[in-house]
């Protein structure tokens, strides 16, 4: 790693001030993405501002009928939370399948969402559930938040504080893990929300996306078979040494069908 100065933020305003004063600084929470990046010397921040311990970013609770999860909540905390398991069990399941156990003991919701890795898990749930990303400056709807590969609506120095999830009637997450990295090669989050059936796909394309063809079809009939006739355009899919775009297009469909099957099996 290149050298940097580490600062533990004392409060959210303190964090905001630090990052405003140091434009080359980066926020640090779990570090599961940032530290490997630094070890590869792919980034050279001047400062790391540790916000992982800030009480403002912690906590899981029901708030006005929505599930509020602090940005610094670790994946294992979300996965084992009785509140999350009761409100959105599919979200607990998703968190419990990010990375591996050691990663889940450090990685955070806010870190994952702010990074918007096209193969990360959380963005699929955040998008499917029409969540609200609450920062220290404003609230951003999920649909506006994710803007492509590693790109989000966050402005310079803006800090995610918590996410608000509307509670769906039912939801399910089906993930095809990348055989080497454990990220999502393709994963689908399906939810019956107040606004209708939502199908969000991660891992397959340049960024998380909603599969509107599937949503339309599932709105009419919520069954895996309903997706049979759909085709996913391989040209929209990622291709790499592990999987062709045609294969990913196939996975989108298969994972979506299995997610629907899982959803139907939940009470």
């Amino acid at each position: 790693m290149f050298e940097f100065d580490y600062v533990k933020a004392k409060s959210l305003p303190d964090a905001a001030a630090l990052i405003a004063a140091n434009p080359e600084a980066k926020l640090l929470a779990g570090g599961m993405t940032l530290i490997p990046t630094l070890k590869q010397r792919l980034a050279r921040p001047s400062h790391l501002i540790d916000v992982g311990g800030l009480p403002e970013l912690r906590g899981i609770e029901m708030k006005d009928g929505r599930l509020a999860i602090g940005a610094a909540m670790q994946h294992h905390e979300v996965a084992t939370s009785t509140v999350v398991k009761k409100a959105i069990p599919a979200l607990a399941y998703l968190a419990g399948h990010i990375g591996d156990p050691q990663v889940r003991n450090r990685g955070t919701l806010g870190g994952s969402v702010a990074n918007n890795d096209p193969v990360a898990d959380y963005p699929a749930a955040v998008l499917a559930l029409d969540s609200m990303v609450v920062t220290n400056k404003r609230e951003i709807a999920a649909a506006d938040f994710f803007q492509g590969m590693f790109a989000t609506a966050l402005e310079e120095g803006e800090i995610i504080v918590r996410l608000l999830f509307a509670v769906p009637r039912r939801a399910a997450y089906e993930k095809f893990p990348h055989p080497a990295s454990g990220y999502a090669m393709t994963a689908v989050f399906v939810a019956e929300t107040a606004a209708g059936v939502r199908v969000a796909v991660t891992g397959a394309g340049p960024g998380v996306f909603r599969w509107s063809d599937a949503e339309n079809v599932l709105a009419k009939k919520l069954s895996p078979a309903a997706l049979d006739g759909l085709k996913v355009d391989p040209n929209d899919m990622n291709e790499d040494i592990h999987a062709t775009r045609e294969y990913r297009a196939n996975l989108v469909k298969v994972m979506a069908q299995r997610a629907v099957e899982k959803l139907l099996a939940t009470k």
Partner: protein, 154 residues
Amino acid sequence: MTKIELTVNGTKHTCEVEDRTLLVDLLRDQLGLTGTHVGCDTSQCGCCTVHVNGRAIKSCTLLAVQATGADVVTIEGMSRGGKLHPVQQAFTDCHGLQCGFCTPGMIMAVAALLKDNPHPSEAEIHHGLEGNLCRCTGYINIVKAVKRSAEAMK
């Protein structure tokens, strides 16, 4: 240089570190606890697994400064008073190690897994070991060691 204080295997230490020093480097180079190993640089192999405040963490992906004030347990701290931890005993009883390089991290991960889930199914064991690679054993005897540990720790 930053001064940090942390407890490692029950002993309080005050150390001077660069901000970029990894916890694993502090443990190995400054504290001489070479039982924790570095096996990769993409946070996947798990050889560096230790317990920080009771949770299994990859010490290659944590800055030493982030561990200030923490209670750290390494493989050297798993046996007490010359008596092996049940997980350590199970590994040798089940031939769950060959070259031994992944073993400290594996033992730390297994101990943490069994704390969270004292009676894991085989599928849960596989899931719980996703963060640890082994090249020698093929994992079969490691899984047996986990089952044996769970029995022993009932």
